[in-house]
Subunit: 165 residues, 2 copies
Amino acid sequence: MCGMDHVDKILTQWQRERPDLDVAPMGTLGRVKRLHQCLMRRMDQTWAVYGLNDSSFDVLATLRREGAPYALSPSDLMASTMVTSGTMTHRLQQLEKAGLIERVKNPADGRGFLISLSEKGLALIDEAVAAHVATQAELVSGLSDEQRVQLDELLKQFLAGLEST
Amino acid sequence: MCGMDHVDKILTQWQRERPDLDVAPMGTLGRVKRLHQCLMRRMDQTWAVYGLNDSSFDVLATLRREGAPYALSPSDLMASTMVTSGTMTHRLQQLEKAGLIERVKNPADGRGFLISLSEKGLALIDEAVAAHVATQAELVSGLSDEQRVQLDELLKQFLAGLEST
DNA sequence: TTTGAATACCTTGATATCAAGGTATCTGGT
DNA sequence: ACCAGATACCTTGATATCAAGGTATTCAAA
C-alpha cells in the first residue's frame, strides 16, 4: 500500500510547488481520468476486431439492448448516449454506409426518422457485445468481487451528486 | 440505495435481452466512463475562463509542477501526459502561438528541444490551477472525506492492476 | 572510424467531437 | 384556419486525437 503511482507523483510535485493548494481531490479525479483512458484503450482493441469503435458500438448496443424491433429515433439515441445532434448525425451516416442500421421516415412524425438494426447489424452487435463483456471481465479482474461492488456504490453516489445539479 | 440510475437501467435492459452475459463489470466500467464525461465537462468550464482546455492545461500544469526552470522536452511531456507525438506537436504549436511556452534547441542533443513556460504562461497557469483545484473540491463534495479516500484506494488498486500488464 | 539501429520530433490523412445555426415539421392557442 | 414557438434533424467550421510514416541526429558496436 506504500507504492507511489503516477498520480501520487503528480500530487507530490504540486505539494512542493504549491503548498497553498489542497490537492487531495485532484488525486481522485486524476485517477478517474487515467483509469478511463486505460479502459477505453483496451476496449477499443476488442471493438476493432469487429470493425467497430467506441462510437459505433455505443449506437448499435443501445439499439440492441432496447429489444425487438431494435428501433429508436436519433433523438432517443442522442439522449441515451449523451452526444450532440451533429455527432449523432455523423455516427448514423457511418453506420448506414456500413449497412449496420437502416433508417426510415417516422410515419407518425414527418420531422423524424426511426433507426433500426439491420440483420447484419444485429448479428454483428450480438457477437461484439459478448466479446466486449469478456474483455470487461478481464479488466476488472484486478479487484475482488467485494471491492468491485464497493467501487460501484461509491461511483454511483458520486455520479448521483453530479447529475442532480 | 434503491434508486436506479442511468447505468442500472442499461444493465436491466441487457439482462432482459442477453441473460447469458454477466454484465456486472459493465456497470462499474460504465460508471467510470460516465463519471469521467461529467467531470471533464465541469472542469472544461473552469479552463475556458482562462482561455484553456484540457489539452493546454495539461501541458502547462505539467511544466509548472516540475518546478523552476519549468522546462521539459516534448518527449518528457508525451510520457507525462500519455499522448502521441503528433498530438504533442499540435499542442505545443498552439501554446507557442499563444505565447504561453517557449522552445529552444536542446544544446545537449541536436535532435530535441526544450519547452519552457513563458512568463505569461507561468502567471496564467498559477492562476488557472488555483481555480481548477477549487472546481475539483466542489466536484468531490458529494462524497465524505472518508468515502473519497476509500474511492482513492480502490481506483489506485484498479489502476495498478491495469498498468502493470 | 564507420555504419546500422535507436531516438526525437514532425507531417500527413483520417476520425470524432462540439457549438452554433439552418430548414422542415408539428402543436397549441386564438 | 392560422401563426408563433417548440422540436427533430442536418450542416458547417473549428479542434483534438491517433496511427503511420518521414527526416535529422545520436549512440554503440565492429
